[in-house]
Symmetry: C2
Subunit: 239 residues, 2 copies
């Protein structure tokens, strides 16, 4: 729906189209209305359409012609975040805020490993390379009742001078890992205790997470598979 | 916005409210309009609001009062899916379709491990328990341009008689793992070849993925952390 049309004409046209599609045996109907066509939403809802999803500049509506329950795919259900650990040669940990690990939201279309490197750069000015996903957490009823997946990442620092970000961060420093771990809030939350244990084991060479490997899928587009490459056989040489 | 109000009155009220909030130094404004209030969307858009997200029964609009770029959180960006491998004592693999692994979408609010068990039950009638996430893939510009995360899961069957689902599945059977792996489409796609290698290694006891452990977070709500429990230290005894 890109063209301009008045709501009454749209309603008439939609009514006759649905009759036509019904005869043809069509089932699901989608209407994507750019925000400039906001004046047509009411007509669509009047015809029985409901909302599927919205992005800043459009609203997607859907309608199911048969009497049966619809089988249209659901909208995105998860937000994805990362938390990044960097350890320098002195086994010092990079922490911020109440010395939390740097965290951030994975942007739309962004790879998890790229988001981790970006957030560390943005918050501290440090260049780094991605090592592994150490663990991930799934949580429900987070922002807007959506679920979230939070990936705990280990990165290797490539530079060491901290240039903290102006706005978001109060302070950033390298700190001894045990000083970080001894903070009451790390002790208090079971999840953070787990993460602490994992990071410690990782520093000691006793833990293996998932590393990203590029892979083609059904589509031509490149995607990344995250797996335990320490025990994955054969294709190692390709990594 | 639950109460009924005519669009002109709503526009006036919104205009004076925004002036008021501006003076107060407020920044972000959210309006959640139930689908029954569809007649008010146009007025909000006229005032400069844009769409944040929508669910079947409501539209969330947002507005940023200052001149600066807004810092409002993004909507959910990922759909989450699972694929399930089950191996019986004969090392036979449970496949469906062109003998694909059973797959499905994780429902809103559903845990990944629960979705895997549910999909296997729905598609084959087999009861199973979750073992591990073997690997996961992140892909972009999937449905509705959203990203998706696909978790490859290993499950242990608790029953063995297949009762295939009526609608979605053409056939379901236990098949020798090598017969599955020899299918041309498994050979053809790099991603599936990887998954094949991982599953084979897992069957041979040579691969470790991530297992879910319950964990409390900042909130009271229970969430699950997925980690490599074979090498994670100390808290093992709690699992």
């Amino acid at each position: 729906m890109e063209m301009s049309i008045d709501p009454a004409t749209f309603l008439l046209s939609l009514t006759s189209s649905i009759e036509h599609w019904k005869v043809q045996g069509k089932k699901g109907v989608w209407i994507k209305l750019p925000i400039e066509r906001v004046n047509l939403i009411e007509a669509a809802v009047k015809k029985g359409f409901w909302y599927h999803h919205a992005e800043p500049n459009y609203l997607m509506l859907m309608f199911w012609i048969p009497q049966s329950a619809h089988t249209l795919p659901a909208n995105a259900t998860h937000r994805v975040g990362i938390g990044a650990f960097l350890i320098n040669h002195n086994r010092e940990y990079r922490g911020t805020g109440v010395w939390k690990l740097p965290t951030g939201v994975v942007d739309e279309g962004e790879d998890i490993f790229a988001a981790a490197v970006r957030e560390v750069k943005e918050e501290t000015g440090i260049d780094s390379e991605f090592v592994e996903v150490l663990a991930f957490r799934q949580r429900h009823k987070s922002f807007f009742q959506k679920s979230d997946l939070f990936f705990v990442c280990m990165l290797r620092p490539l530079s060491f001078d901290i240039q903290k970000q102006e706005h978001e961060i109060e302070a950033a420093k390298w700190m001894p890992f045990e000083e970080y771990a001894a903070q009451p809030f790390v002790q208090k939350y079971e999840l953070l205790s787990y993460i602490h244990d994992i990071c410690k084991a990782k520093m000691d060479g006793k833990y293996t997470g998932f590393s990203p490997v590029p892979s083609t899928s059904y589509s031509v587009q490149k995607s990344y598979l995250y797996l335990n490459t320490s025990t994955a056989p054969r294709r190692q040489s390709k990594l």
